[in-house]
Symmetry: C4
Subunit: 265 residues, 4 copies
């Protein structure tokens, strides 16, 4: 049997993490092919074996990772590790013939999300994306209030329309989201205009207001990112310059004092 040192060596080796990435990629491709029945159906057993192999490999992998920690608790301090652990455990449960079979099969897709863990640049981008959220949270709230008001007004006036696009508050919200993406929004408008000829005012104002707010959201994010960069980059150089000017000032002041002394003599 393998000694603990050997397992730690394996866990830290680059071929181990590369192998895991490779197996995830291979599994992702296999999952893709499995959906094409002409290709997948004659090889049912092959795909079943792949599934079994990947399940076992992930179990072994996580056991190696757990075993090579000094304290098992340390393993669960990283959110990514917890995520990996949950995915592996759930896909181990014998749910194939239970009523949760569909959900269990679906959970396997999330194994592919482990790819995010394998490329540091991707983790960085996800951090960046999460970091961009605070800059837009208030604009999202504002957007929600605009949606809310328009949804209630739309439901109030257009509830009886045959298309049922305004039949309750949630449906009206969905319809407004559709209008925001410009998806056949004139069909929605023309139907409403048959009932109320002023309905174009409702739609055109919504499109302009929502687009204007969205547009400023965009600008706000760009400006926010720019400010960060400006403060990082140029300021560094400027403050180095300022330090030198401060040094100059000090030296010239000393000079003055020395000349004062010279004059006194």
């Amino acid at each position: 049997m393998l000694s603990k040192e050997k397992i730690i060596k394996i866990r830290k080796s680059s071929w181990f993490s590369n192998l895991t990435t490779g197996i995830i990629l291979f599994y992702a491709i296999a999952l893709g092919f499995k959906t094409i029945h002409e290709i997948a159906d004659p090889y049912g057993t092959l795909f079943y074996s792949i599934d079994m192999f990947v399940t076992v490999y992930f179990l072994v992998e996580i056991l190696i990772k757990l075993y090579s920690e000094k304290n098992i608790k340390d393993f669960f301090k990283s959110g990514w590790n917890v995520f990996d652990f949950i995915i592996v455990i759930i896909t181990l449960l014998p749910l194939e013939n239970s009523s949760f079979a569909a959900i269990a099969r679906l959970m396997r897709i999330f194994r592919v999300l482990r790819l995010l863990n394998s490329r540091p640049e991707l983790k960085k981008i996800i951090d960046m994306l999460i970091g961009a959220i605070p800059a837009i949270v208030d604009i999202v709230i504002l957007m929600f209030i605009i949606f809310y008001i328009y949804a209630i007004v739309g439901n109030f006036f257009f509830e009886e329309l045959k298309s049922g696009l305004w039949k309750d508050f949630l449906t009206a919200m969905l319809t407004l989201f559709r209008v925001l993406t410009f998806e056949d929004w004139t069909d929605v408008m023309y139907e409403a205009m048959e009932l109320y000829s002023w309905a174009w005012l409702y739609f055109v104002s919504f499109v302009i207001i929502a687009a204007f707010v969205f547009f400023n959201l965009f600008v706000a994010v760009i400006i926010d990112e720019m400010q960060k960069i400006n403060s990082e980059q140029t300021d560094e150089q400027l403050s180095r310059e300022e330090d030198k000017i401060d040094l100059l000032l000090e030296k010239v002041t000393q000079l003055q004092e020395e000349i004062q002394e010279l004059k006194k003599r």
Copy 2:
């Protein structure tokens, strides 16, 4: 009865404003549920009670606010207070059975707009949005002139089309707005091309010109925001640096004079 001091204390307490925000939020959710008939219909009395309660609460709230001012006129100096006051008064009017009943019911939605008043960040964003308008007002005028010219030309040529999309000036403007959002614009174009084979020139030129102007509007706003930030941030540091250089220059000039004196001796 409560003394004036106690009322002022209530008015300034944070639980009072949090309670108001909470009640607005609760009311917003209730209004949403009210539109889903399966949920709302069995609880008609409940929704009526909520409505009554909120109306009374808002009345009490505005009376507290009015009473705690030194001078009632001060209350109306803030636009938001005037807005609150109008909303509360209108929803008090006994219009339920009059011909204005629909409008009165609709006015209640605007109570939700009072949420904007409860979160300072939202007020700031609205200020920002309003502040962005001057930067684009001239581009909007230009856009309007482009729309105007194209609407008159479109009405001139395509007035008789069966779809009626160009039947008068206002309808033509609405159709052009639709073309600008790319919403089934080729349907509009193909119909026009059956009459005049050159009609694609009208539509493609409109799309390119309008998109180009719109695109520059976007760039103009970004640049405008950037200039503001540049002048705020970097300039501050640069002018601090410049002040120090000025001080240096002064000191060196003094040094020169002193050495001149030394030489004369």
Copy 3:
């Protein structure tokens, strides 16, 4: 009769240019109402009178402008004046009953374009828009080459499709423009995929390539504008600072020389 001095005074007065702007605006609104038959038809004579009045006013206006110039040739040095002159002359020609009647009536719309001349900010924006063209001209050429290649290939493969969207080179270009605006582009694709199952490759690659080039066009314009501003604003302050540092250097060098002299003594 009015003396030349009086006419020059009128020509330079602000009420004269405001009156012209007002009459153009009034004429623009009248043209708009004229398209709504329910409103316009009972007042046929009124609209005819407005038309006559505006024609006469514009003639008088241009005569005043011409007369108040020292040399009539000077008037035609400005492109806007030439534009105004052509519009006024063409609408004077008695074409009402000729075969050019439609064109003559259409020319009147361009009178509204004279509004651009009345607001300096609008002239500035138009200059800005024209100024933005050189930054994008090469990307437009590249875009055209992409369109060209795809149009020839599309016509080659999809010429026989029933919709006729690829029946010749120009139609294929128009179809590709439609695909670029995402307007029902999947309908075009699904039709092509019935003939060739690989057709999605043609469309998806076009959408990605064209969008990517377009996207970079956008970025190029923003960057270009930013560079201009950076060079204008910050550089001004930086070069003022640099001048002062140069002065400092000079002074310190003089100081050194003077101290050298002092030491020699």
Copy 4:
């Protein structure tokens, strides 16, 4: 016969490269007209002659270019030359009546791509476009993972839908690309909602996540370009300034030393 010197002179002359550009442009226009049957069909022989002439001209041109190199190997060091050579050779092969005739005819279109070689600005833009790829490659990977997960989930739930938009993994990817362009995405959603009423969650979440990632891709590229410019432009001026301040510091230090000497005397 022409001497080698004369051929080198021709090869380096500007009229030779202008002539080539002219002939490519002329050929591009001819290819365009050839697709319009009403114009092209009566002149079949003319178009055949143009084709022959261009083929011969390109052959002669490439022979001149090859002959004027010192070493023929040098010619193939430039990617553009290799591209030119392949295009010329392939269109020389006598494939007219073989089964490759269609491909051979199609290859001629790529002759037009030689235009990119004739305008330095276009080469620069293509370099810029290629240079923009590294900044977005990780976001593209992330986008692909999002597409992948949604495609598998979509295929899992919506496989049996009559439209066949989710029938296998690749079709589901294409359908998601369509949803990303907002092209009739609600039709896809409404069909799915008939089966599962929660399907709107799948589509709205995809639209928001994909749009948010795409949006940040945009911002990332702009920021990336800006950083490059900032480091190029302002930094140059700042570092020139810094050099001068360094010189100043040195001079003032020397001054101090000299005054120290003076004092010692």
